[in-house]
């Protein structure tokens, strides 16, 4: 199997006052190159913690995280739940910051940022600041920033949960289109079962307190997925029974 990232017995505990709390316990799994993988679970299941461990943001944990040999830190991007745009930079500069950090030539920065501005319909807002944009537009900038470096792995931490349902649906369509065209590996966290079914190739269901891997469910529904189909509802019921046994 063409594994791009693998977790082996990953456990994360943290101190809450005087007691030790286990956020995630003994998580082992492998994610394949080009896969759309979703961690699904309720609050307290440690899904964001796993994402932070995999992306390198969380450095203190037990167990191992292995990246494929050709993947390094520069091949990783992250889409934050609350956008995490820098308010002192314009939309253009926010999108290009990853390339600037990699000391990409100015021509490449212009080309890539221009590509992302066009792709997300942001060209008119290139000189705007994040505070001048709606939530949906801000997250478009957040996703554009993540894509501008052409990453091999994109982590998405409940990237649509701060948006209204219409904007979230539109952004999910955009993400699926980009994913199907360029096939980066996308590893996402969600607490919404329909969202996970719509997007994922495989869904890792996590239980709460501590977060344990209950089951990995392969999603074989054909794309584009019909949300009102019998199969969609059946998978939704199955996942629901796993999340709340």
């Amino acid at each position: 199997m063409d594994t791009i990232i693998a977790l082996d017995s990953v456990t994360k505990t943290f101190r809450d006052g005087h007691k030790l709390v286990t956020a995630v316990e003994n998580i082992s799994l492998e994610i394949t190159r080009g896969e759309f993988f979703v961690f699904l679970g309720p609050s307290g299941s440690g899904k964001s913690t796993i994402l932070r461990i995999m992306s390198g943001l969380e450095k203190s944990y037990h167990g191992t995280v292995r990246l494929a040999s050709e993947v390094d830190r520069n091949d990783i991007s992250f889409v934050f739940q609350q956008f995490a745009l820098w308010p002192w930079l314009t939309v253009y500069d926010n999108i290009g910051i990853g390339l600037v950090a990699r000391h990409a030539p100015a021509s490449l920065v212009r080309e890539r940022v221009g590509r992302e501005l066009d792709r997300f319909g942001l060209a008119k807002f290139a000189r705007s600041f994040p505070r001048e944009l709606s939530g949906g537009m801000r997250q478009r900038v957040g996703i554009a920033r993540a894509l501008a470096t052409d990453p091999k792995i994109i982590f998405m931490d409940e990237a649509f949960s701060e948006l209204d349902s219409f904007t979230a649906a539109a952004l999910r369509r955009d993400i699926l289109k980009i994913w199907s065209q360029t096939k980066p590996t996308i590893i996402m966290v969600s607490h919404l079962i329909p969202e996970a079914i719509e997007l994922a190739d495989r869904i890792a269901v996590l239980t709460v307190h501590p977060g344990r891997l209950e089951k990995i469910v392969r999603n074989t529904l054909l794309r584009p997925r019909a949300k009102r189909s019998k199969e969609f509802f059946a998978l939704e019921d199955h996942l629901y029974s796993l999340v709340s046994p």
């Binding site: 943001l57 995490a84 745009l85 314009t90 500069d93 212009r110 505070r131």
Partner: protein, 241 residues
């Protein structure tokens, strides 16, 4: 950085700019009128003012660099937990108590005055920047890590913008204390030039001393109106989400 830098809109309208320009002229008008009333040479008075302002400007410049480097070095990590209480004690140190020793060591010189001004001005700037960067959004730091900003780029493109509101706020407080310390230090050190020297010279002349204090207040007001208040507004907009 790429094509579009942050726009600095300090003066929202032309009227604002013109009004500020007139405020800037106020100290000079005051200086001429005051010199006429007190029968003093405008040039002498102006040189006293320049000497004092130069000392404060040099001290402020050095204090800003030291405060910024210190705050950025100690805003997190294990070293911070040890260093910050030490800095807290140091800022409470009664600096004027050491002024006679400093004067003995360095004489009645600019060095002594500037050194004491640095010690006075630095702490509000240091602690203001420190609290600013410590309270920065965790998401911003994580996104800086994810995009791979390191070294000088990290300082220039990330830490510097985040620290600007603290720098401006600290500067306003620090310079407020600096003006106070400036005149006092110049009087104690007994410099041959500067506002301290002027106030010392006319200590027995209440009208001239009162007008001098009023003039100093006009100057401080003008600098605040011209520079600090617009910069404060701008710095708050800088981090507005």
């Amino acid at each position: 950085m790429a094509a579009h830098r942050h726009r600095v809109t300090i003066y929202p309208t032309k009227i604002h700019l013109v009004a500020t320009f007139f405020v800037m002229l106020l100290p000079f008008v005051f200086l001429i009128v005051f010199a006429g009333i007190a029968h003093l040479a405008v040039g002498t008075l102006f040189l006293e003012l320049v000497a004092s302002v130069s000392r404060l400007a040099v001290a402020y410049g050095i204090a800003v660099v030291l405060a910024w480097v210190g705050a950025i070095s100690f805003y997190r990590g294990k070293l911070a937990s040890v260093a910050l209480p030490v800095f807290d004690v140091l800022q409470s140190f009664p600096t004027f108590a050491a002024l006679p020793i400093a004067t003995h060591l360095w004489g009645r010189s600019d060095t002594t005055v500037i050194l004491f001004l640095i010690i006075t001005v630095i702490w509000p700037i240091f602690f203001s920047i420190l609290s600013n960067v410590r309270l920065m959004k965790h998401d911003w730091e994580e996104s800086a890590e994810i995009v791979g900003l390191k070294g000088f780029d990290y300082l220039r493109l990330f830490v510097l913008p985040v620290s600007i509101p603290g720098l401006i706020t600290g500067s306003i407080i620090g310079l407020g204390e600096g003006w106070e310390a400036l005149v006092a230090t110049e009087i104690i050190v007994r410099t041959n030039t500067g506002l301290g020297n002027f106030f010392q010279q006319y200590a027995q002349n209440t009208p001239i001393t009162s007008f001098g204090i009023l003039g100093l207040m006009v100057l401080i007001f003008s600098i605040n109106k011209l520079i600090w208040i617009p910069l404060l507004d701008w710095s708050h907009r800088l981090l507005e989400e």
